[in-house]
Amino acid sequence: MNSQVLLSLLEVLQMVGFVAFVTLWIEAYLYVHFNFPKKSWFLPAVLSVVPFAVLLLVLVAVGPVITVGQAVNIYLYSLLAEALLSSFFRYKGDKKLALPYMLIMPGFVGLALLIAYPLVFEVYLAFHDLKLTTLKVWSETGYLPFVNFEHFYDVFTKSPLSEVSFWQLLGRTLWWTVVNVFFHVAGGLALALLLNNEIRLRGLYRTLLVIPWAMPCVVAVLAMRGEFHSEYGFINIMIGRLTDAFPMLAQLGMHKVQWLSQHAFLTCTIINVWLGIPFMMVVILGGLQSIPKSYYEAASIDGASRFQKFRHVTLPLLRPVLAPAVTLGTVWTFNNINVIYLVTGQSGGTEEADILVSALYKAAFTFNRFSYSAAFALVIFVLLAVISLMWLKFSKGTESAYD
């Protein structure tokens, strides 16, 4: 066994140790969240880190002992360690909670591996400088220069790609989200209302309509992209046939267009609307079917017309399913990289259709600006969190209509 093997074993152990650490940290967070603020020692514990922070500041100020980056690191890790230790002692004392914590541990390990570790690493990256020129040094020595908030500053002032600015991307993303979610809900609601009637072959229609959602997104998007091809795509061929058959249409201005290069945003929107409708349809159909028939009967007897029943019974009672579905849909659409990247991401692809996340992906993996992308991703995360929270509060989405 040579030293190389030992080294890699050590790395694996380090990784496992880190995961365990983060797991415990999340548990500690939960414990803090639910219990700590009520405890008498909570305030002293919080205050105790203040002198420590002051000490670190002094060390930084006095001279070349530690750098700012190291000080911040030490401070953050010591905060974590404190939360961990104190929660450990609390939870040792409370035997009742030991079993529940052990039982949810596997779930936490999964969370830690898939979410917490990348997130922590991302935060680390965002404050350091990893790019093509520093990659080699980093992989050999593990050293990355600390750059403070520089990347966050760049996000708002420099183009993430080659032309579009952050603000253009943000505006386009919001527009993209609004248009898509609107058509998802409108289309889903219309189809759900149709499918909620007693019609023949209802199961067949439902299955057919769910297919875009059921098949792998990449396959669906690539297939649709083919249909928008300027020469061989179904859409342009149909336009050609129609204008041949009815020259009047051509006079009215109907002609073949370069969908993928000149109307990329429109193309992406059409594809994504088509992809997103089935989910909303299924959710709304579920909501419709959970509304008891007797409400409609009572409304009939009260004298409501079909539209009035829809307006006064169906819509208010759909709210509890619509609000979370719209929130989810908003997040998914806001974060939808698949459609845009798959349609416009090839070499020579346009930036006309890019939204924040697709620009983020291109910045990271086409332009290799890793640390910049990490900072960019954090900005997007905060934006999305704020939007979602505001929407949930505004729509009362977590309230039930029934009880």
Partner: protein, 362 residues
């Protein structure tokens, strides 16, 4: 207010005829109760009147106007549902005024009607609450209030009390009786509970298997049931039935089986068709006596064996074995029961039915 007429009304689901040529007249200001076991078609009949179910054939008329093709909103009815069907997202006030707002009545009119109904039902305090904040009985009142404010021609009730607990049900029964008196409205009420039917109804229509078995005032239905089904369904505890045959000895008619021989002191119906060898004698538990009473027309003595005795407090239920049949007698609580007893039936109040057709023959 209004009368309602059902003529030859049928309901057919696919190949399954669930209502067979129902004929029923409901008079103005009448409290008519449709009673029967579940699946007898009573709710379907009510829902056809409301316009929630199609009428397969026949006619339903309100105040002489055929309403077969009128949508529910044009029939001027109000309905109280078993599960109340209060709109969960509206307050009590909004629930009650919904039908009026849909019909675009002036706001003052709506307010005054809602207040009137709320006063009648004593739900003023809850007007701003949502249905989920109310108890079952309060929801029930709101559902009734929603019907009252509409000032409908006919009130329809579909098992309105069956979701309430026993004590509340009794209270609401009294309230409903008061309400009918106060409003003087035509009411059609569906229930499977014969106690509700007996206590509330002006007239009862007993339904079974898609047929109306008997229509009459509660006392008529109770004291002269048309057939075995009605006899067994109405009244609690249930009527006792004994199989036997009719025999004539000289001038006198006797009911006979392995355990008894009773002289029948009343004439049989003229023209009644039945098999003399298979008849059923029905007698209600309260008409079974364990000692001679001079003021009653008691029949011949019957010997029976006591199986179980249940003490109810004011009365005792005595379960008896008499030949092949089992009998229930309700006797005063202080009565001393023995292993074997002698019984007498009140012959003014026994019923004879043909066993095959179930029809009354006396």
């Amino acid at each position: 207010m209004a009368s309602v007429t059902f003529s030859n009304v049928k309901k057919i689901y696919g190949d399954n005829e669930v209502l067979h040529k129902v004929n029923l007249e409901i008079q103005d200001k009448e409290f008519l109760i449709l009673v029967g076991p579940s699946g007898c078609g009573k709710s379907t009949l009510l829902r056809m009147l409301a316009g929630l179910e199609e009428i397969s054939s026949g006619e339903i008329a309100i105040d002489g106007q055929v309403v077969n093709d009128l949508p529910p909103r044009d029939r001027q009815l109000a309905m109280v549902f078993q599960d109340y069907a209060l709109y969960p997202h509206m307050t009590v006030e909004e629930n009650m005024s919904f039908g009026l707002r849909i019909r675009k009545l002036p706001q003052e009119e709506i307010d005054s009607r809602v207040m009137d109904a709320a006063n009648t039902l004593q739900i003023q305090k809850f007007l701003k609450r949502k249905p989920r904040q109310l108890s079952g009985g309060q929801r029930q009142r709101v559902a009734i209030g929603r019907a009252i404010v509409r000032k409908p021609k006919v009130f329809l009730f579909d098992e309105p009390l069956s979701n309430l607990d026993a004590k509340l049900r009794e209270e609401m029964r009294v309230e409903l009786a008061k309400l009918h008196k106060k409003l003087g409205a035509t009411m059609v009420y569906v229930t499977h509970d014969q106690v509700e039917a007996m206590t509330l109804a002006s007239r009862i229509a007993v339904m079974h298997a898609g047929y109306i078995q008997q229509i009459g005032t509660p006392i008529e239905v109770y004291s002269r049931p048309d057939n075995i089904f009605v006899a067994g369904f109405i009244g609690s505890p249930t009527m006792n039935f004994m199989d036997g045959s009719l025999e004539t000895e000289g001038e006198l008619l006797y009911f006979k089986n392995e355990a008894m021989k009773l002289r029948v002191p009343f004439p049989l119906c003229e023209g009644a068709e039945f098999d003399r060898n298979a008849v059923v004698l029905g007698v209600r538990p309260e008409d079974v006596y364990t000692e001679r009473k001079l003021d009653k027309n008691l029949g011949d003595m019957v010997r029976a064996k006591v199986e179980v005795v249940e003490l109810l407090g004011h009365r005792k239920n005595v379960y008896l074995e008499c030949g092949k049949s089992r009998l229930l007698a309700t006797v005063p609580a202080l009565f001393k029961t023995e292993e074997a007893m002698f019984l007498w039936f009140d012959m003014d109040r026994v019923h004879l039915f043909d066993k095959a057709s179930g029809k009354r023959i006396c």
